[in-house]
Symmetry: D2
Subunit: 135 residues, 4 copies
């Protein structure tokens, strides 16, 4: 299993008039989580897209809102790949506030698309080889 953590502060523009991090902004936290996880493995999504011609569109997302996140809180984004990706890759994400309380839990499933052919492919080997030793 591979787990990665990164932190991000809740910005004013991300709050709503309830004083909460707006429910639609969590998807950006999930994006940060998975992109920084890939970077921790020595891969950048940017290079996958530009050099390897692979897009990763999102197929499904689920979000559970457990407690509010507030302005200026430093949120810890914990992203986990519970199993080796195959035709899909599913990132599990948990967000914790500064008291270590769970704020939000989510799950995002993406696939791999070859830009040149616009066809879905299996997980590229260069990603699998980074991950295998963890499973």
């Amino acid at each position: 299993m591979y787990t990665h953590e990164v932190q991000k502060r809740v910005r004013y523009g991300e709050t709503d008039q309830m004083g909460y991090l707006y429910y639609g902004n969590y998807a950006q936290y999930y994006e940060i989580g998975r992109v920084e996880m890939l970077r921790s493995l020595g891969l950048t999504y940017k290079s996958m897209e530009e050099e390897l011609g692979i897009l990763m569109p999102v197929l499904h997302m689920e979000c559970r809102y457990v407690r509010p996140a507030y302005y200026d809180e430093l949120i810890t984004i914990r992203t986990t790949l519970r199993k080796l990706p195959d035709r899909f890759i599913t990132f599990h994400v948990e967000l914790f506030n500064e008291q270590g309380k769970l704020v939000n839990g989510g799950r995002v499933r993406l696939c791999f698309v070859e830009k040149a052919t616009n066809r879905t492919i299996r997980t590229p080997e260069y990603l699998l080889e980074k991950l295998r030793s963890y499973y």
Copy 2:
């Protein structure tokens, strides 16, 4: 069952460099869908919050990304309440493009919180009375 439709155009700032409506922006389409549904029933979320002191935080969201939505497309947001709300209210949302193809399907569950006491309450009667005849 109560169903309501409203349209919204995909804006440049909502696209990403894949040329798609960014996956995190669908939540705003869902918000528009449910707020305009309430307005069609003669209720505004604004007045619920300001006059009646009721907040409606989101508890859960699920999104299925069926096909991309592109810049400048006029998206039809169809929002449905499949059953009368009780402790929760669940909006089912479907987004269609100009060709009538399903772009995205989602589900958002919210609850009702009394601002004064910060406690969860059941669906307020003034909302139920607007809805009962449809069920």
Copy 3:
């Protein structure tokens, strides 16, 4: 002179915890204003980009925040081209609330870039011919 008006409602996700339309979200209102102005002239920015291969990057923006805009207000976006565009095109934007009070005034200057060559060009003739009779 050519002036165009379009309306947009302030959404929950656009407010911040001060209860105001977040200052960074006005740029999206300006975008809606100029895109809908072009559409009113029989042009879409989408077709300019896709069929004619013209991009319009923003060079400069100025925003004056006169009074707050609040959640659920229906904002009137008035966009004006004070003079015929040449190397640049400058949109003047005024936003009014439901009481007709000025909320915000802005100015956005863009140029025209030919995608194929990545070079700046003068205002394309097909845009000028739509506009000339107004000046």
Copy 4:
């Protein structure tokens, strides 16, 4: 003169289909710049708002778009207070890409509002005392 730098990566959701950081998202970078500058002085905007009852609405913003910022670039946000604030506080912001090239320059003017009275006040003394030695 007081200058502060902080970095932020361009996220996928912040790009548009031109492949650029969307012009409307720079305001969020400016927000990060000024909030982190205040933090570097030992002040948080959060505590100003919550404990001291001071709001800082934006009155004016100007943005010059010098060159595009691209996905995944680590942007350096340099924020400068050129003079001691009085009735207003003006932050000058410059954004640099990883090559050290200027991407964007901006200016944001805010005022101070006492929440209790909803009246504009001069720069609070606790902010001035942090700044005086730099001028």
